[in-house]
């Protein structure tokens, strides 16, 4: 089948849905790729690079729509583009069906199949095609870079000849994909990073990235909703959260808010009074600007400076500002989607509506609007079993435990000794002196053996077995003592024993030596 990619028609959109690398991978699936001339120019991908990867470059978007079975792009299609779709054609792009219902209906009337990359279910199997996550990752990174660019100081603390520079303090609100990316970037730039999320289970992830999780003193319901997103929180919880932020605001130099709730306006988390409380020169990057912003002062797509000198950045095109990177990731997401659509790797698209991922992402198919999809069968993130925090034991309790353990140990040991002694006494009562003298040797040797063997390094267990093989060849002594018998059968059996015991002795020792010689230190 032919897969085509058009140049993004949206003003200022620099991304492209195909890279030469992804084209090569798509070709392995048996498809042919086609791209509109100049589609990659704003992402630093020239038409020649496409040609070198075996992609056909055509002049106009109309050519692509006419000749391809599958069209891929980044932004939702414009009305013109939807009009160009024909029956049986597939369009893969971001779509935001909740906002573009008209377009979706139009496409279904035309009989085209729409696959919305923003509707890919958030289950682990579909992560490789989760374009929202890959774009959010870039947005998180870029948000920190933008804020650093607008911030008049170092992010990292330094002690220089000209004086001491304190590290910047960064607060990331919302530890989703974008938030975690922002945390990672901020910590690696050397800032002291705090992070907050309504889902306490992400605290571990936050801490693993080197940030400090801001805990609230709040008992009650809160947490994750469907599909790995946060659910709206209760008014009490919100109050506790805002109080915490208010407390932090005067200290924080850079705030990055990433809180979004699906299909709702972004919650207001950074209020006007917090902005007022911040120091002049502080920076707020509002990644929720598209949906009204986590800060009400944010102006979409603008950088503004408040009266008290706080910079608020409301850009919504962070991924596009890093077009090369985001094109690479997005093209890979598209490529994975095509891989799932081409299970036979034979160039034949098999649109399997029973597949959770494909079903979820498909919003129109065969003249039907198939959105919203039925609930996915798997939850995005296994609910962590509520972990009972092991109670910290007091020193007295610990001591009591230790004493109890010691007492049981003593009891066991004394009990074993008593039983052992009793058994020995019984044996001693019946067995003759000559036996008992050997028995003492035996018992002592067992003890010595246990003590010695416990000290053997685990890595030397194989040499240990080989050397015990060798020394158990000591049975040769038994055979040697019997060989003097007059009985021919006895002599024969003894000789065989001597023979095989010698194999053990020589073979065991030599192979041990060979093994030990191999162990060398670096």
């Amino acid at each position: 089948m032919k897969i085509g990619v058009v140049r993004e028609s949206h003003e200022g959109e620099a991304r492209v849905a195909l890279t030469p690398q992804s084209a090569e991978q798509i070709a392995k699936l048996g498809h042919e790729c086609m791209v509109e001339a100049g589609a990659g120019s704003r992402a630093d991908i020239s038409d020649d690079l496409y040609r070198a990867a075996g992609v056909e470059v055509v002049e106009t978007a109309a050519d692509v729509f006419d000749r391809c079975d599958v069209v891929a792009k980044v932004r939702p299609p414009t009305e013109d583009e939807v009009e160009r779709l024909r029956e049986g054609q597939t369009l893969i792009s971001f779509f935001y069906p909740a906002e573009n219902e008209e377009l979706m209906k139009r496409a279904s009337e035309k009989g085209a199949t729409l696959i919305a990359m923003d509707m890919v279910p958030r289950i682990s199997r579909a992560q490789k095609m989760d374009a929202l996550s890959s774009m959010a990752n870039i947005a998180g990174y870029r948000a920190v870079i933008e804020s650093a660019n607008n911030f008049g100081r170092f992010l990292t603390g330094q002690i220089t000849a000209a004086g001491k520079v304190p590290p910047a303090k960064v607060l990331v609100v919302g530890a989703g994909v974008a938030g975690l990316a922002a945390i990672g970037t901020a910590t690696s730039l050397g800032a002291i990073t705090y992070a907050f999320d309504v889902r306490p289970e992400v605290a571990e992830q936050v801490q693993s990235m080197g940030a400090e999780f801001v805990f609230l003193d709040f008992e009650g319901e809160q947490g994750a909703g469907e599909g790995g997103y946060a659910a709206p929180s209760s008014p009490e919880f919100r109050e506790a959260q805002l109080a915490k932020f208010r407390e932090l605001a005067p200290d924080i130099d850079i705030v990055i808010t990433t809180a979004l709730i699906p299909n709702r306006e972004a919650p207001e988390l950074w209020t006007e009074d917090m902005v007022k409380a911040m120091k002049p020169g502080s920076v707020i990057v509002d990644l929720a600007a598209e949906k009204g912003g986590n800060c009400k002062l944010t102006v979409k797509d603008q950088r503004i400076v408040t009266d008290n000198g706080v910079v608020i950045i409301g850009y919504t095109d962070f991924p596009s500002r890093m077009a090369k990177q985001s094109s690479t990731l997005y093209a890979t997401n598209i490529r994975h989607m095509l891989t799932d659509l081409t299970p036979g790797k034979d160039g034949q698209i098999n649109h399997n509506m029973d597949d959770d991922v494909i079903r979820g992402a498909t919003i129109t198919h065969k003249n039907d609007v198939t959105w919203p999809p039925p609930k996915p069968k798997q939850a995005a993130q296994a609910q962590p079993a509520k972990r009972e925090k092991p109670k910290e034991k007091t020193a007295a309790e610990k001591r009591a435990d230790e004493a109890a353990a010691f007492a049981t140990q003593t009891r066991n040991q004394v009990g074993m000794l008593a039983i052992g002694a009793l058994l020995l006494l019984i044996v001693g009562a019946y067995a003759p002196e000559s036996f008992m003298s050997h028995f003492i040797v035996f018992a002592l040797a067992c003890f010595v053996g246990f003590q010695v063997i416990w000290g053997v390094a685990h890595s030397l267990h194989t040499p240990l077995m080989a050397v015990t093989n060798a020394i158990s060849g000591i049975v040769i002594l038994g055979a040697l003592l019997q060989i003097g018998s007059g009985n021919l059968l006895v002599i024969f059996l003894s000789l065989v024993s001597v023979l095989i015991a010698s194999i053990n002795i020589v073979g065991g020792f030599l192979v041990t030596r060979r093994m030990l010689a191999m162990f060398v230190k670096s």
């Binding site: 199997r125 060798a470 002594l477 003097g484 024993s497």
Partner: protein, 510 residues
Amino acid sequence: MIESGLQSAAYIVAAILFILSLGGLKDQESAKRAIWYGIAGMALAVVATVFGPGVQNVWLILLAIAAGGFAGYYIAGKVQMTEMPQLVAALHSFVGLAAVFIGLNADLMLGEVLELRYGLAALSGVAPETFLWPIPSAGTLFTTPEALALMERAENLTGFGKSLLAKDAVEIAILRVEVFLGIFIGAVTFTGSVIAYGKLAGQVDGKPKQFPGGHMLNLGALIVCLILGILYFNGAGIWSIFLVAIIAGFIGYHLIMGIGGADMPVVVSMLNSYSGWAAAAIGFTLGNDLLIVTGALVGSSGAILSYIMCKAMNRQFVSVILGGFGGVSGPQLEVEGEMVPTDVDSVADALKEADSVVIVPGYGMAVAQAQQAVSELTKKLRDAGKTVRFAIHPVAGRLPGHMNVLLAEAKVPYDIVLEMDEINDEFGSTDVVIVIGSNDIVNPAANDDPNSPIAGMPVLHVWEANQVFVSKRGQGTGYSGIENPLFFKENTRMLYGDAKDSVQAILQKL
């Protein structure tokens, strides 16, 4: 000719040298010295015995020793390190067989000596029970040619025979118990080790297999052995003890046939232990303290190894020996996600970016003979300034410490080969983990799923690393047949194919 007192002194020195040679295995460097203690001890013991009192046919002995020694030399030089488990099992079987022969000999000689003794007792006019050797006033008592002939035969008894003659009735009863134990343990060790050898060498099917009746058959055989033993104790002839040897041989065969290939570390350690106890039983029979000491050392060594292996699998010794896994109390956790295959390029890229790498080898590495390639990979990565370490689970491979030996052979320095406890806390700060041919020892279900058959088994926490690559032949489950949730984790990628080819392909790309 070495006197009896001197011989005892030599035995003491030999026993001490043996203990030192085992104790020296506490680290790699002292082990290289300690092995010589063992060799010296053995040489001393053999020389002191061969040239000691009561040993005849010295030339025959030297011939047998030379032949056996040459065979041992040949085998030790030729064996591949991957074949160590087989070799160890084979050597166990020799000890078992020798123990059976010596036990049978002891009984044969006992028969002769008893005959002699009844004759002498009748002549000296005392009951056989109260007969004493040497006979007081023998010179005046025995004058007839018959009596003198008997006396001469008694005088000519050497070594073990002479000590038999001096035993009283209780001591002879005890001797019979010892002979029974020696032969029984020896025979179980012999056939068990032969089967273990066959399974390890791939000549016997590694799957557990049993006759109908299973362990009841073993129990029945054991009871028959005990009955025969009681018969033997009460004076039944050598046939009874011979039957014991054969039936015990069957038990050894059947017991080990019923155990799967991957439980072999426990089996081999157990047989190691048995070979020691067999030697100790022979020592009691012959009244030789050096045999007793050595047997006890070897026996306890094997017992401890079995204990360590069982602990590392969180299983009871008995349940390993009887085969099969413990009861499962509920449904296992559903495994979520999918196994994501990857290719050599991505592994190589990840390795290039990584600072710290941990390699987890398992039996699959030995099967694919990939240790050399792994060693080269290690060298290359270390040369590039990366931290490379190995994580060894106690039951990785088919023999305790097997992986260590294989890696040592491939010239991986032993100080980067770490035990499970040493490295388990460090996976969190590791960039890339490569799992080569191991499965159950990296199964997170052992930690997470109380209903898993391996719940509670200590495992390597590889999933805590940033990225895990699993080199594996196919999609199958491990020997326990348990699904491994590690393969489905988000940070795990599967690299299918032969381990050696995969590692070599990675080497090409680096």
